[in-house]
């Protein structure tokens, strides 16, 4: 057991650190934080430019093979990078669905042609990806999905509908799960497609979330043609491929989320120091101190549980169902953190953006509301607990 960095890792850390110090856009968070008044498209442009810059500096896709646009490093370097990103409070990665899910899945299951075609453009943010899994009648029970893909000549024709598709309005590509065999058992007739969102017949309709933002969408497919070459991992093998994606999602979340949690916690501590309670900074209130300390502990615990998972990965083991535990912990911690931010603001928590009295221009109100989605997106907490119960602990299915 050793948490010390090797000389190479130390120099990598220093490289990241000094690059960030030089290139981090000044004061970006106040201007660009989601929930601020800046229109979404402008935020997306800003994030796209930032990711491109990270890519050009060689800081995207560290663990991806060099042949496919990555740097061929280990998760250790990825963790070092993420830690520095957290310390510098750098902007999040825009193309996160591509980098956290689509890319690793293509690298794991793709043909040589697919591996050369897609991943590099994900890293550079030239092509944005979205995830077309959920449908109006299939969420937790994903395998019941109805969107159909029928073979016609050398391509497939897709009809149906997806829903809750995040950033579909920005996306160039979709990871699409569609039914290719209606007669097979439900898990066995699904295929994973790489779908060009600019294809004729794709219609994206933004949906307003409870935050007021339209971050997710409905996506309709009306006779959309997809070349056969865009099948990933084989016909009717989509369930296995798609589940790999989800494991990567939860793992990527594990990395990225620890960082986001740390940044949010630092913001919370700062808020607490600025907030007055009974005439003194709220950080002097014993009850607030207890809650903040617990948040601090949970954030660190999350980091070390993640480090244990990375150690396993470095030994060559695949991300397993344990990733569900990480996702669940993060959700619980982050939602509690946002609740605490509201508690600190007391009556001021009622005021949103636009009011001159709103705390930090109302960004906390946004992040508080947004945090409610955490226990739903990427598989609900109930589903994560089923996975842990059945696949880690071996309890019988209900």
């Amino acid at each position: 057991m050793d948490f010390a960095l090797t000389p190479e890792q130390t120099s990598f850390r220093d490289e990241v650190r000094s690059w960030l110090a030089k290139n981090l856009p000044k004061d970006w968070s106040n201007r660009m934080r989601v929930g601020s008044d800046v229109p979404r498209p402008e935020v997306y442009d800003f994030l796209r430019t930032w990711q491109r810059k990270m890519y050009e500096a060689g800081f995207m896709g560290l663990t991806w093979p060099k042949d496919y646009g990555g740097r061929g490093l280990t998760f250790m370097e990825e963790m070092i990078l993420q830690e520095q990103i957290a310390l510098a409070k750098a902007p999040p990665v825009l193309n996160i669905l591509a980098i956290g899910m689509a890319g690793p899945t293509i690298i794991a299951y793709g043909t040589e042609e697919q591996k050369r075609r897609y991943p590099a453009k994900m890293l550079s943010c030239e092509e944005i990806w979205c995830q077309g899994y959920s449908e109006p009648n299939s969420g937790s029970d994903l395998a019941s999905l109805q969107t159909r893909a029928e073979k016609v000549g050398d391509h497939y024709v897709v009809n149906g509908q997806k829903v809750w598709t995040s950033i579909a309005q920005q996306a160039d590509w979709m990871m699409l799960l569609a039914r290719t065999d209606g007669t097979a058992e439900k898990h066995k007739g699904i295929t994973y497609f790489l779908l060009d969102m600019h294809s004729p017949g794709v219609a994206v309709k933004p949906l307003k979330q409870l935050t007021g933002d339209d971050e997710f969408n409905e996506v309709y497919f009306d006779n959309v043609k997809v070349p056969e070459a865009n099948i990933l991992g084989g016909l009717n093998n989509g369930w296995a491929v798609g589940m790999t994606t989800l494991m990567y999602e939860r793992l990527a979340l594990g990395f990225g989320l620890q960082v986001r949690l740390r940044i949010a916690l630092d913001g919370l501590v700062d808020l607490a120091k600025r907030t007055k309670k009974n005439g003194a900074p709220a950080t002097q209130d014993p009850n607030v101190r207890q809650k903040l300390a617990q948040m601090w502990i949970d954030t660190e615990v999350f980091k070390y549980t993640g480090a244990r998972a990375i150690t396993k990965l470095l030994k060559g083991e695949l991300p397993g169902p344990e990733a569900s535990a990480g996702k669940m912990m993060w959700v619980e911690g982050h939602q509690r953190l946002q609740e605490l931010a509201m508690e600190l603001q007391g009556p001021y928590s009622q005021l949103g953006r636009g009011s001159r009295w709103a705390v930090d221009s109302g960004v906390w109100q946004y992040s508080y509301l947004r945090s409610r989605a955490n226990s739903i997106e990427g598989g609900t907490t109930e589903i994560q607990k089923n996975i842990i119960g059945e696949r880690v602990l071996g309890l019988p299915k209900g």
Binding site: M1, D2, F3, A4, L5, Q9, M76, M79, V269, A272, T283, P286, R289, Q290, L292, A293, Q294, W296, I297, D298, E300, V301, F302, Y304, T305, A307, R308, I310, T311, K312, L314, K315, E322, A325, M328, M329, E382, Q384, K385, N386, I388, G389, E390, V392, L393, G394, L395, P396, K397, G398
Partner: protein, 393 residues
């Protein structure tokens, strides 16, 4: 970076598991906890033969010279078996205090005997005030000739009734130096950390009386130690008069990490017992583990157990490396694990139903150990406050 155990540590774990399964199964634990000593000479001898009593002591004193990451493995296994007896007090309290604060002569005279299992030791630091900080140490040690006279009462002393030597924390002065800004900002400009001295008091020293106290967790024996006009020579003093708090705090931090590891092992065992039971116990025609009310609780237990291990391993590593954030690591671990073990052992009883509430079932051993451990070396609330201070909230 590598956050896993090495081969020797894995081997230590499997050896310890096998030994404890054979030598300290539940029937044995129950016999031991019923007796006043919590141990038999035979089992103690076998434990010592494993080298465990000397695990963390230097080779030169007959130990194995291993670190806390190694120790954590052993403690997890001991917690898994709710091993009763004076291992913890001898090695992690008395023995460690001698290692940290003793003079060369004291180390030479006690550590080899502790390592070999010949001698048992403990540490008497808390008093009826139950205060954890330096302020809690009020037992008077008055200078007398070249020696000292000790007067006062120590409480919550582990295994004092079977110890061959007790390290007693006493006050030789009320603290003259200006406050160093430690854990408890002192009142009246006096630093309570200054003026604490540690003494070695052998069994049978005139004026010292030990009373065994009934405990909720019978696997843990706690005592009251009364010192009335106990006259000690200068050779009883450990290190310098007045500067005993720093080594004492180091000992307590380290013992806390070991305790956390023991708690992790216990929690892991409760999880395993519960999952096994949930697979076989039927209700309404199917295993209870197939009901989400049960399954989801088990998932929560797993998260508690895994997180407890992560933060404990980190704290152990921090002790071995002597990193600056060591105290923070200890407090994060104790805060987290105290809550987690209580939750896990409580959920274990709940998911077993009526059988979980019987004396016959082992769950109560873990549940009681969890509660006792929660309040040993500071509970979650106390450690959260220490975290708050250490991160400058």
């Amino acid at each position: 970076m590598n956050f896993g155990f090495n081969e020797e540590q894995d081997l230590l774990r499997s050896t310890a598991r096998k030994f404890l399964d054979n030598e300290c199964a539940s029937e044995t634990v129950r016999k031991l906890m019923d007796g006043p000593e919590g141990m038999t000479p035979d089992l103690w001898k076998k434990i010592a033969e494993q080298g465990w009593t000397g695990l963390i002591f230097p080779d030169e004193h007959g130990g194995m010279g291993l670190g806390f990451v190694d120790l954590v493995v052993l403690m997890e296994e001991m917690g898994r078996s709710v091993l009763p007896g004076p291992f913890f007090s001898t090695v992690l309290l008395g023995g460690l205090a001698i290692r940290e604060a003793g003079t060369d002569t004291q180390k030479k005279s006690w550590l080899p005997r502790i390592s070999s299992g010949e001698a048992r030791a403990t540490l008497a630091w808390m008093e009826p005030s139950a205060e954890l900080g330096a302020r809690g140490i009020t037992l008077q040690a008055a200078a007398k000739g070249t020696g000292f006279t000790l007067d006062g009462t120590k409480l919550f002393v582990h295994d004092a009734h079977t110890a061959d030597v007790i390290v007693v924390a006493a006050r030789t002065s009320s603290g003259q130096n200006p406050p160093a800004g430690g854990q408890n900002p002192p009142a009246g400009g006096q630093d309570p950390e200054d003026g604490v001295s540690l003494f070695l008091v052998p069994k049978g020293t005139p004026g010292m009386s030990v009373t065994l106290l009934p405990t909720m967790d019978q696997t843990r024996k706690l005592c009251e130690v009364e010192l009335k006009n106990v006259v000690l020579g200068a050779e009883a003093l450990m290190g310098q008069a007045g500067s005993g708090w720093v080594p004492l705090a180091r000992v307590i931090d380290r013992a806390t990490v070991a305790l956390c590891a023991e708690m992790c092992g216990g929690a892991q065992k409760v999880l395993e017992m519960t999952v096994e039971y949930a697979k076989i116990r039927q209700a309404f025609g199917r295993p209870i583990g197939s009901y989400q009310g049960v399954k989801h609780k088990a998932a929560d237990m797993l998260v508690d157990v895994e997180n407890s291990k992560s933060i404990t391993y980190y704290a152990a590593w921090a002790m071995d490396e002597g990193v600056p954030e060591g105290q923070l690591a200890v407090s994060m671990a104790k805060a987290y694990v105290s809550d987690a073990y209580r939750r896990v052992s409580g959920a274990g009883i709940q998911l077993h139903g009526g059988i979980g509430f019987t004396w016959e079932h082992d769950l109560h051993l873990y549940f009681k150990r969890a509660k006792g451990s929660e309040f040993t070396f500071g509970d979650a609330t106390w450690h959260r406050e220490r975290v708050a201070q250490l991160v400058n909230l």
